[in-house]
Structures are given as C-alpha cells and as structure tokens.
Amino acid sequence: MTSAAQAAPANERTYDVQRIRQDFPILAQQVHGHPLVYLDNAATTQKPRAVLAALEHYYATDNANIHRGVHELSSRATTRYEEARAAVRAFLNAADDREIIFVRGATEAINLVADSFGRRLRAGDEIIVSTMEHHSNIVPWQMLCERTGAVLRVVPIDDAGEFMMDEYEQLLSPRTRIVGIVHQSNSLGTVNPVREIAARAHAAGARVLVDGAQAAPHQLLDVRALDADFYVLSGHKMYGPTGIGVLYGKRDLLESMPPYQGGGDMILSVSFEKTVYNKLPYKFEAGTPHIAGPIGLKAAIDYMQAVGLERIAAHEHELLAYGTELLAEIPGLRMIGTAAQRSSVLSFVIEGIHPHDIGTILDREGIAIRTGHHCAQPVMARYGVPATARASLAMYNSRADVEALARGLKKTIEVFS
C-alpha cells in the first residue's frame, strides 16, 4: 500500500506507530498464518513491555504485604503502591491522593458507589442513566432500586447514538439523587458531554458518576474540569493489568460515605465494643489489595504519558476517520453509532451476514474484532439488531490494520456471495 503510505497525514509520520508496536511484544505474532491485527481494544488492551517489566520487578524484588510491616521489603512495596496512587491522581488531575481508591475494575467501582453512596437513597428517589451504558453502569443501579424502592430513569439516545440532552433535562428533578453516565460508549464510540451533564445534575442537586473505562486510554482526563463526583477506571482497558481499577471520588463525598467492605486495613482499631474505621482512602480498601495491580497500572500510565495522550488521541482520531472512510466502501455495511463526537470504535452490521460469521471469517485472517451485544443490550434493542461487529482502536493500531479489516470484510462478503 505505497499510495496509502504516501497519503499518510502528518500525524501518522511524526507519530511513530511502528516504534510503539515494538513495545507490545504480543503484537509480533501470526494468527492462523497471518500477522495479528488486534482490533478488540475496547474489550481489553495489550500491555507494553514496561508494564510486564514493572510486574516482574515488583514480584522479583519488592514483594511484601503493605502498610503493616517494619521490614525493608514491606516499606518498598508500600512506597510503590502509594506512588501508583499518586500517579493515578495526576493522570485524572484529582486534587488529592486520598480521592483515589483502588478496586478490581470499573465494575467494582460502580458497585462500591451503588452500595455505599446508595445507602442514603430512599423509596421514590430517582437514579438516571443513559441507554448507552455498559451493563456495569445499569445493573448495580437496578439492584439499588430493588433494595431501596428508588426508581431508575433512562435518557434515550438518538439515531446517531448521541445523548439526548433535552430529554435528560426533562428527567432531572429534585428527586434525582445520582446520574450515571458513560464518558465514552464501548458499543458506539460516542463521547458524551459529561461536563454539561454534570453541571445540569448539580443544578438539580444530584451527584454524577462518570464511567471512564473507555475514555481513559483515548483522551487527556481532568476530573476537576469535568466536575465529576465519581469517576471510574479499568486498568486493563488502559494498557495495565486485569484485576485493578480505580474509583475517584470527591473527598468530602467519600468522607461522608460508609465503608463498602469490612476487614483488615480499613480499620483503625477493632474491639467487640467499638470498631473505628480508617481514614481515606483505606476506609474503602479492605483486605490485602492487588498490590502489583496499581504498580502495573502506574507503568501503563507512565507509558501513555511518555507518548502523550493528546498525540495518542490525534493518531486514533485520524485512524477512525480513515477506517470510517474504508468501511463506507463496503457494500451493505451500516455503521451503528455515528455521533459527531466519537472515538476509537467502529461498530457495524452487514446486510445478510450475521456479526458472528463476520468475526469467524476475520479471525481466520488473523484479525481480532468483537461480535455480540458488547454488554450493552439496550443499545442493541435501540437499533433493532441482535448484535454488531465492533473493531476498536488503540495507540498501536496502524493504517495497515484498518486496511486489513476492510480487506477481511470484502473477503467475508465473497464467502457469503
């Protein structure tokens, strides 16, 4: 594809994607006899060598339990763990390290808020989410409604997959206690105007939880500029390990919330007469945490910041536009999700070919995409499709990857013709 290389825009030339690819050892392999084209990044991202090295280094040299030891290894492990907290704080531009709680993933972070913040809800209170939420930002709220008699309200999306601000305004009321909104949709790629959504929620006296699981690897974040009350992350979707996630919460709010789980580390003192809970952030980190998780996550954050999140975003934006262009040439293909503000996701269906069959045929070409409902069944229902095929981009994807996708789709159509 020399013509494509010549036509490559400035960003592709200055952004050295080949060098970045070399930092991700998993990418250098053949699948079914073809070079791997990994386009399932919204499900999970691959890990740069720096993350693998950080995990190895931690277990090889510093491993010990944190916070309670007087010995050298324990103090090193504690230092690394707390350094990671500071790195996440800086990544989110939060005000204070104590606002960063380590959890298992975005799912656990949302469950923590639904459980702990949720205890202040009463029958008749209202919770608002949008149609484009991941199941993890729907089900914990439904469970909370079951427990309390609160009511879940849903902001619809339009045909392009955009959040309907006017309908949202209609749903907000003095009964609204919390609004759960995805920053970037995993099934549509829509990037939501969360700052405005938060402002309107605050005007109604409600709190806002922003699900940043998908946004985090694709844009520079600033929770204070967004004025999010809660912001949640999943480490594995931002080049870090699985099993580690983050709950950011405004300090006064977290202070006012009861603990989520009980156990070691989350207490100051325990007696059968009276147990005193620990301060933030430990109040919400019961038991021995996944110590290596934050350490790996910090390495991932360092890696993204070294490349530069704005440069990553520009590269991916360019690729998304190129991919959208190439897919538009595929006969019978319909994009699902065409919001004006969209990032890193190409979700589509092809007339007469089920997404599952598309996925199998692409797989035989070494191309990894996801097919199914993407844990967003209400989105599928909104578009009247049982499933979509979804290619999702990351910082290491190249023009060659989306060209391979387009070729693979043409082949799929051949098989079915």
Binding site: G352, I353, P355, H356, D357, T360, R364, P386, V415, F416
Partner: protein
C-alpha cells in the same frame, strides 16, 4: 481459507439465507425457546407430536448467525416423521460430529454431515447445537428457556 469453505459450505449458506420451515407450526403442541447470550442468537422451536410420539410437524422462528440458522433449518427437515427416540439418537450423532467426540455414523447423519467443518471452530459449536438443545427442551416441554451459557 479452506477450513472456512468447509465451515461455510454451499448447503449451509443456502439454509442460512433461506431457512426452511421458518414459521410457526399451526398445530404445535410443544415449543421451547433457546438463547445464546454470547452472540444474541434467539430461536423458538415448535413441534407437533402425535399420540404415537412421532414428529408430525416442526418449525422455528428467530434470528441467528448462518451456522445456527442453517443448523436449525436442516434439523427441522431431518426430524419430520421421526419418533422421539430417533430424534434424541440423531442429536447424539450430531453432537459427536460437531465436537469431534465419538464416531458419528455418516449414514444416520445424512445431509447433516455438512456440519463436520464446525469441529475446526470450537467456539462455533454452540451456534450449531443451540437448535438441538432447544428441540430437546421442547420435547420435554420445559418451560425455562435454554441458554448456551
């Protein structure tokens, strides 16, 4: 590409695009619902069993991938006129074919042998067998939907 051609054989593509017995059976006295949460495939099987336990009519509705639609379509053709016991025995043959376990008898399988390519695609086995599991549920008149997960 060859194993793809083995998977997506002409007959399978044809049944995938033009499923047979794709309707509600007017006199159905058994039915069941099947669901594959992984890919969203939905199927509803309708059976008309006579007093002797012979399948007088069998049909289906739903949406699914080429493999699952073709499998359902060809199953309905294969089972018409069969007894309950014969239907179950055929499922065993088909299951052996799909999973590559045991020795399926090509004579008993007949046209269903075109699904032999699925063996090379273990993550598609559920697509091919959803209809059959659902058919068994319908025979037993099970109320709860069949799920592959």
């Amino acid at each position: 590409m060859d194993d793809l051609r083995d998977l997506y054989q002409e007959v399978i593509l044809d049944h995938g695009k033009h499923p047979r017995n794709f309707r509600k059976a007017p006199a159905a006295n058994r039915s069941a619902h099947g669901y594959n949460p992984l890919c969203g495939d939905q199927v509803e099987i309708f059976l008309e069993l006579d007093a002797a336990g012979v399948v007088q009519d069998i049909s289906f509705q739903g949406s699914g991938c080429a493999i699952s639609t073709a499998s359902t379509s060809m199953m309905t053709q294969a089972l018409k006129g069969k007894t309950l016991a014969e239907a179950r025995a055929l499922f065993e043959q088909f299951h052996a074919l799909i999973t590559g376990t045991g020795e399926p008898d090509p004579e008993k399988l007949g046209k269903l042998a075109v699904f032999s390519g699925v063996r090379e695609f273990p993550n598609r086995a559920k697509c091919a067998t959803l209809a059959w599991h659902t058919m068994c549920a319908a025979l037993e008149n099970r109320a709860e939907p069949v799920s592959t997960e």
